[in-house]
Subunit: 103 residues, 2 copies
DNA sequence: TCAATATATGAACATTTAATCATATATTCA
DNA sequence: TGAATATATGATTAAATGTTCATATATTGA
C-alpha cells in the first residue's frame, strides 16, 4: 500500500492532519457510545442523554464535535433534534475498530 | 448493525474503552506518519526519526505507544531495532480512515 | 573494557480535551 | 405573549497528551 496525495488535498500534511482528526473524534468512549446508539436508529438528544447517563450539556458538546466532523446529521422535529449517522463510512469505521480489538 | 458483547470482554464498558483507546492511538499526526511509513517496509528508529524530522525521543515515545497498543512489532538487528506493522488490521484501519476523508 | 552508536525512559512543561455549571436560543402551546 | 421544554453554547477546571531535555540501557567493535 502506498499513501499518495489525493486531489482534494493541497498537501500530504493537510491530509494526514484531517485523518488524525477523524480518528481522534472516534477516540472517545462517550462518542463511540453515541455513534453505536445511532447505528440502529436515529435518536434525539434527550434520549441519548438518558441512555448515556450523563448531563445534557456533555452529550450536546460531543454531538457538536460529531456534527463538525460530519459524522452525524440532524433533523429537527418540533422541539427535538434527531441525530443519525451521516453515512455508511461511519459504521465501516466502527466495525473495523471492533474487529481489531476482537482479533 | 448491532454491537453485541464479545466473549473476550467481561463488559461492554471494557470493550468500548478498548475501542476508544485504539482510535485514540490513530488520532495523532505523528503516529499516522509512522504507521504509513511502516506500511511499505520495516524501518528502524533512526530512519523513522530522520524521515519525520523530529527528535529521536519524540519518535521513540510514539513507538512505545504503538507497541503497547500492539499495532507494531519489533525486531532487533545489532544496535538497531526495526519496527513493522503488527498485522493487516492496521492497514485496514488506515485505509478506511483515508477513504473517509476522501469521500 | 571503553568509546561510539542506537534506542528507551523519566521528569517537566505547554497544550488540548472532557466535564460541569450557568445561561442562551429555539419551539410549542396555552 | 409568556411559561415550559429541548437543545446549544461559553467559561472554568481537572485530567490527559505530546514534546523536550537529560540520562539510562543495550550492542558493537577496537
Amino acid at each position: 500500500m502506498s499513501y499518495e496525495r489525493n486531489e482534494r488535498y493541497g498537501s500530504d500534511e493537510e491530509m494526514i492532519g484531517d485523518m488524525a482528526e477523524v480518528f481522534r473524534v472516534f477516540g472517545d468512549r462517550t462518542r463511540l457510545l453515541i455513534l453505536m446508539a445511532l447505528s440502529t436508529k436515529e435518536e434525539c438528544v434527550g434520549d441519548l442523554t438518558e441512555e448515556l447517563g450523563m448531563t445534557q450539556s456533555a452529550v450536546s458538546h460531543h454531538l457538536t464535535i460529531l456534527r463538525q466532523s460530519r459524522l452525524v446529521k440532524t433533523r429537527r422535529e418540533g422541539k427535538s433534534i434527531f441525530y443519525s449517522l451521516a453515512d455508511d463510512h461511519v459504521e465501516d469505521i466502527l466495525n473495523i475498530g471492533l474487529e481489531h480489538i476482537n482479533e
